[in-house]
Subunit: 340 residues, 2 copies
DNA sequence: GTAGCGCGTGGGAACGCTCCCACTCTCTTC
DNA sequence: GAAGAGAGTGGGAGCGTTCCCACGCGCTAC
């Protein structure tokens, strides 16, 4: 029941039991080149009998690798666990890392209080690299990680000065496509419910909205712009505001699907027919977009793919640390459904 | 730019620069008992100048501690990132661990494919203990972790045979209170929308429903029971089913708030007045309960508290590994709002 | 003046692994 | 039959810590 009878077996004991040297046992465990079939079998049996598990601290001490990658999400628990977006990214990352035989650890950098902890933990070479999912502008975390000399890839944020490797979705183009679609549907007064403008996703989708209008030779009307916070309640409030200011609105581009769902609800309550009188377009192509009434026309993006690309880029960085950091921008496309 | 100029400084170098021995430098870093003020200052300066960071692999190798705790969540990414419940638990755990100067790493045990990976990673003494959030019955993960000899606390699941330490909410009593409340309100035909019955939370809330009826001297009517999956859509479907089978239903206990929100929606569509004709009670007291129409009467539980208790129990286990494992059951209470 | 105490200190040993070099043996080649 | 190549092997060195023991020093107590 207690410890004494079974102090974890060491490689030395495995070797002794198998009747070989430590070196040979080690070779069997790692890849197993240049080992006779006989020795290999003896070692494998000894491992099984003793229930041997390599001590990774000892291994890391000499190899300087940990075979572990951290995913740091710099958001509040509430947002992390409220956004299906993260689920997709995490799944993509998890799959890709597991194919590369790397272990994922997820760290939340929510409260400021814990951030020094996180910092120093990352600094102690617990991980070989960091994937960062940060959507706010003012965050100094990327620079702090960088300063530790850890390979890193940032997701969901295009680094202006290309300081880091990054993977991002083409938010601008996506939004522009959405607005173009509304214009093509003959909508004259196209409003937008934006996301928070201190997040890259919020800002660049708004910029896309502006350039979409520009494409059509129009200029933005401030009365048709309301700021939301990516939540359904925020979308409802913003939609109400727009209806109040410009009751003649006939098209709405919402910066995500959740806000679009809120907008649909408010429009219905206000007695507007969608898509008869007003067209609504969202962004994300979240599962939710299929269950709204009517189903939501939206800009498709793939969080899962984003996760995979982040891993891919990080692995490339690990392979050749001195290459300059690349950036990847993933495509988006419009999915037309009943709301437009 | 590249590595050569700054290979991480070691403790040895810090000591040399401070003009002290390795032992003294080590003492300064850990707690710092029995060190003269002069030596301490010299060491601290050297650390700052060199930017020294202790190598945790080397430290772990000798201390056999990692100061890291894993939280394993055995659910699909979709559920994890869809349930606000997890957000609360993670926040509670995060806060409590950070107070104890321990680092949290989160691991998702979603797809079966990755589970061996997870297993062996945990076995390699990367962490000192494991917190497990598992809501399914058939999971062998607890036993596998146990077999590795890792201290562990399970949350959200009462281990029948008390094999593991656990922390759980008193689901049964909570549900019983809810049903008692409906009975007291004069409801004669009290239905329930259950959660999945292969999850402890789903099953014990259903059992609580049954004993609530028993308290009132009634027996359950199978026509008044429908099974949901803890999602809003599932709640809607189950409610429709009940309305179809028993149009005279006048009270509904839903096993969580999300399903209750779905039930409310269906009842409204069916033209039933809540709480005039039908009373509805949920479970969780999630933020959502405040924003339904009418606001939801519900059984309050605190995921954050559950997280904190899990940590507390794990720390106790780490302190005295040979004590038998305790279990803790957290209280719940009813919050009466407009829906009943 | 000597014995004793305890604080502050330095450095050897050990943690469990991988890397690498040196060694043996077998087989080929001229 | 001698020389060379190469496969398979054993074990020393070293990774960067912490732990612990032994040592020196300045006190106090007799």
């Amino acid at each position: 029941m207690s410890r004494p009878p079974s102090p974890r077996p060491t490689l030395e004991e495995v070797a002794r039991r198998a009747g070989v040297g430590r070196g040979t046992a080690s070779r069997v465990i790692n890849g197993g080149e240049r080992v006779s079939a006989r020795a290999r079998q003896a070692v494998e049996e000894a491992i099984a009998e003793l229930g041997y598990v390599p001590n990774s601290a000892a291994r890391t001490l000499v190899t300087r690798r940990t075979d572990t990658i951290a995913l740091v999400i710099a958001e509040s628990e509430e947002r992390i666990f409220g956004e299906p977006f993260f689920a997709g990214v995490v799944r993509g990352i998890g799959t890709a890392l597991s194919e590369a035989n790397l272990q994922l650890v997820l760290m939340l950098a929510s409260s400021g209080q814990r951030s020094e902890h996180l910092d120093s933990w990352l600094g102690r070479q617990h991980v070989d690299g960091v994937l960062l999912l940060s959507l706010h502008d003012d965050d100094t975390l990327p620079d702090r990680i960088r300063a530790r000399g850890l390979p890193m890839v940032v997701g969901g944020q295009r680094s202006g000065e290309e300081r880091f490797g990054f993977v991002d979705v083409d938010n601008r183009l996506g939004a522009r496509l959405a607005v173009g679609h509304l214009v093509n549907r003959g909508r004259r007064r196209v409003a937008t419910v934006t996301g928070p403008l201190d997040m890259v996703a919020g800002r660049s989708r708004y910029e896309g909205y502006l350039s979409g209008l520009e494409d059509a030779g129009r200029t933005a009307d401030p009365g048709l712009v309301a700021t939301g916070d990516f939540s359904q309640a925020g979308g409802e409030a913003a939609m109400r505001e727009i209806l109040l200011r410009r009751p003649d609105v006939d098209g709405v581009f919402c910066a995500n699907d959740l806000m679009a769902a809120g907008a649909l609800r408010v429009l219905r309550e206000a007695g507007r027919d969608v898509p008869g009188e007003v067209s609504v377009v969202g962004f994300d192509d979240a599962p939710l977009a299929l269950s709204t009434e009517p189903p939501l026309t939206t800009v498709h993006q793939s969080p899962e793919r984003m996760g995979r690309e982040m891993v891919d880029l990080l692995l490339a960085t690990l392979g050749s640390p001195d290459e300059p950091q690349e950036g990847r921008v993933l495509p988006t496309h419009l999915v037309v459904r009943g709301s437009s």
